[in-house]
């Protein structure tokens, strides 16, 4: 089936299998591999994207459900000239990246948090990132990055 959607402000179309996830469509059909595919059951958050401005796991959205809707992926956060989004820059500056697999999801979730709550408490950060798993960093550097991004905003 043909799915038409807006990704990072641009119209796109893809021919999808009816049972296909938005994540699979983004990565394999539409050329947006930034959202990572790990658990495919909403546990890890590495596929986090914004669907009509709401943070969701792309693996739990049927591609057909995104038809006619707007999706923002991690690729859509950086400036048009390639300059990093403040959250991305903060992750670099704080050393919040080790293997990097969880990073796109954490960056999208952090951007979503700071848009809603520009100066979050530690508890708010913990809650907002509770759906994103990182197996390398132990989260301390990620917390540093979120605080850094909040301070710089």
């Amino acid at each position: 089936m043909r799915v038409s959607l807006t990704i990072n402000g641009e119209e796109h179309q893809a021919d999808c299998w009816e049972g296909e996830s938005l994540l699979f469509a983004l990565r394999e059909k539409l050329g947006f591999p930034g959202s990572k595919n790990a658990c495919e059951q909403g546990e890890c958050g590495s596929c986090s994207v914004l669907l009509d401005g709401t943070l969701v796991c792309a693996c739990l959205v049927l591609a057909a459900q995104a038809d006619g809707h707007e999706v923002t992926t991690v690729e859509g956060l950086a400036a048009a000239d390639g300059g990093l989004h403040p959250v991305q820059q903060a992750f670099v500056d704080a050393g919040a990246v080790q293997c990097g697999f969880c990073t796109p999801g954490l960056v999208v979730a952090t951007a979503d948090l700071l848009r809603r709550s520009p100066s979050p408490s530690d508890d708010e950060i913990r809650e907002a990132l509770s759906g994103n798993l990182c197996r390398c960093t132990g989260y301390a550097k990620i917390f540093d990055a979120v605080r850094l991004a909040a301070a710089g905003a």
Partner: protein, 260 residues
């Protein structure tokens, strides 16, 4: 496989009548897992995301109508926090922000898992499930709607359209045991209210939702009564013995909160 995407409730009910095998999908937090892992290959998916009538909630005189498409995020962040505090507390414990932004109470009811977090607080509040088809609508008491582990009373041509209840405004709370605060399937959960009578219901401790009630002056024996009403099993998340003990302790703590 085909995807049916109705834009009105009338259209949705007509499609469900024409395709009774179609699997309804709203937030996708259960259905997509089944698809991603090849556990299910239904002939058709009925995408309910575009049906506005199923969204949000409304109040008619004293009765609340919670649309089956109402998300946990909407419950925990809006006015319902004050109207249905135990349901709001339960919603806060569901999955993660990403899951709560998509998961719905209609989906929780349809899945009918013994661990469904919305079920105990809704049962304590005397909720009914509104089911509709082209033949008309009917209301089913929540304890009758869930007929067994992951089984419900829906006819093949029916959809869950809403949850109806009259808020008790009684002091109430929800508790849940799991290895961490997020992404947890309850080892056991518990909703308790302390209005004119004591009311309790638990999750992950019986195949179907159970309501336990007692007069307020029998609070001392209530924890034992709740634990005795449970029929937990041993599984990967906990033992029968631990679950029953935990229910006793949680009920005691919940009563301290709601009778304070």
């Amino acid at each position: 496989m085909e995807v049916l995407t109705p834009h009105t409730l009338v259209e949705a009910l007509r499609m469900k009548s024409q395709h009774p095998g179609a699997r309804p999908i709203q937030g996708g937090t259960d259905v997509m897992v089944a698809l991603n892992f090849d556990h299910e290959r239904p002939d058709a998916l009925l995408n309910l995301n575009e049906v506005a009538e199923l969204r949000g909630w409304s109040r008619d005189n004293g009765t609340l109508r919670l649309g089956s498409g109402l998300t946990y995020a909407e419950i925990e962040n809006g006015e319902l926090r004050d109207v249905l505090p135990a349901l709001a507390e339960a919603s806060r414990t569901v999955g993660s922000p990403q899951i709560r932004n998509r998961g719905t109470i209609g989906g929780n009811l349809a899945t009918a898992s013994p661990a469904g977090d919305a079920l105990p607080p809704l049962l304590v509040e005397g909720a009914e499930v509104e089911c509709a088809s082209v033949r008309g609508a009917r209301r089913i008491a929540l304890e009758d709607f869930v007929t067994g582990v992951k089984r419900n009373a829906l006819e093949p041509d029916e959809l869950i359209t809403a949850v109806l209840l009259t808020p008790s405004n009684a002091p109430q709370t929800f508790m849940k045991i799991g290895p961490r605060n997020a992404m947890v399937i309850a080892v056991v959960s518990l909703a308790v209210s302390g209005g004119e009578e004591l009311r309790a219901s638990f999750g992950s401790a019986s195949p179907r939702p159970v309501l336990v009630t007692a007069p307020r002056d029998e609070a001392d024996s209530f924890p034992e009564r709740v634990a005795a009403a449970a029929s937990p099993i041993d599984d990967v998340r906990g033992s029968e013995r631990y679950r029953r003990h935990a229910l006793r302790v949680l009920t005691h703590r919940a009563l301290e909160r709601v009778l304070a």
